[in-house]
Amino acid sequence: MILQNKDKKTWKELQLNPKGLTNDTFSDLQFPGGTFFIDKSTNFLINKSTGVLVNERDLNKFINAHPIFLFTSTLRGSGASIQDIFDLLDYDVNNGPMLGQCNMSFDSPIRIGQKYKIDGKIISLNEKDSKKLGKIKILDFILSLFDESQSQIASVNYVWILPVKDF
């Protein structure tokens, strides 16, 4: 049974006792929300670790951040870390969760030196049998990035594959 909105518990409330929650509990569950600052040193690390050679002396010339910051900012600034998400789902990270899909849209570039607000929600958590992985859970959620004037800068829809040993 899907709970009515008025009966829905918040992320923080569910976090207090995440054992035995049904998959429906997570439908439309809002992330706590938070902020993320785009700093130039992390931008440098992202570029370097993905094979883009940037001279450290040129760091101050960059205005736009690497667009993959949409990924890092939403996952670091949603108010719940990756571990927090797994804890809420009562999921063991040692089972090897994987990114299945990631659909991104950008209304504007992400800027270095800017602080962004992040909001979003879990769309669904479903179970299925995979030929390749056996029993899996599929976590579908969306997170969006807003600037200080509350304008949406970008949004990302994640689908994570969570292999499980037993339901």
């Binding site: 992390t42 690390l45 992202i46 370097k48 670790s49 993905t50 094979g51 883009v52 690497h66 667009p67 993959i68 990924f71 890092t72 996952l75 670091r76 870390s81 990756i82 571990q83 797994f86 990270v93 040692n94 089972n95 090897g96 969760p97 994987m98 990114l99 299945g100 899909q101 990631c102 659909n103 991104m104 849209s105 950008f106 209304d107 570039p109 292999p163």
Partner: protein, 132 residues
Amino acid sequence: MYSEGSSLKSWNFLVNQESMNVWAEILDDPNPIHLDINSARLLGLGEGTINQGPANIAYIMNMIEKNFPGSQIIKMNNKMTSAILEGDQVTVSGQIIKIQEKDNKSIISCSINLKTDENKVAVISEVDVLVL
């Protein structure tokens, strides 16, 4: 300058553990498959640590920037089809599918793949790029 059906310049990268360590920290990602070869092996994922998904997507973004310098990605749909392991030499390649002109700007739709040196497709992307 750009035309529908034309191939994009490819982009290569050798995936290494040092970069995966950086990504684990940047993402605050506790998943041991990125850091511990035994963890990946026990889960049957292969004989190497598994590269983080966002790093794979970032390679595709780098290829876009190489082909369309100063452009802006406006939409990017990524499907992860296979794992990239530490030590894999990856190649990003693709082609222009469609070009729409509007107000002296072009929206270029591309179909892009990230493959390993064994020709295993790891990411399939559809990308719309705004070129001024």
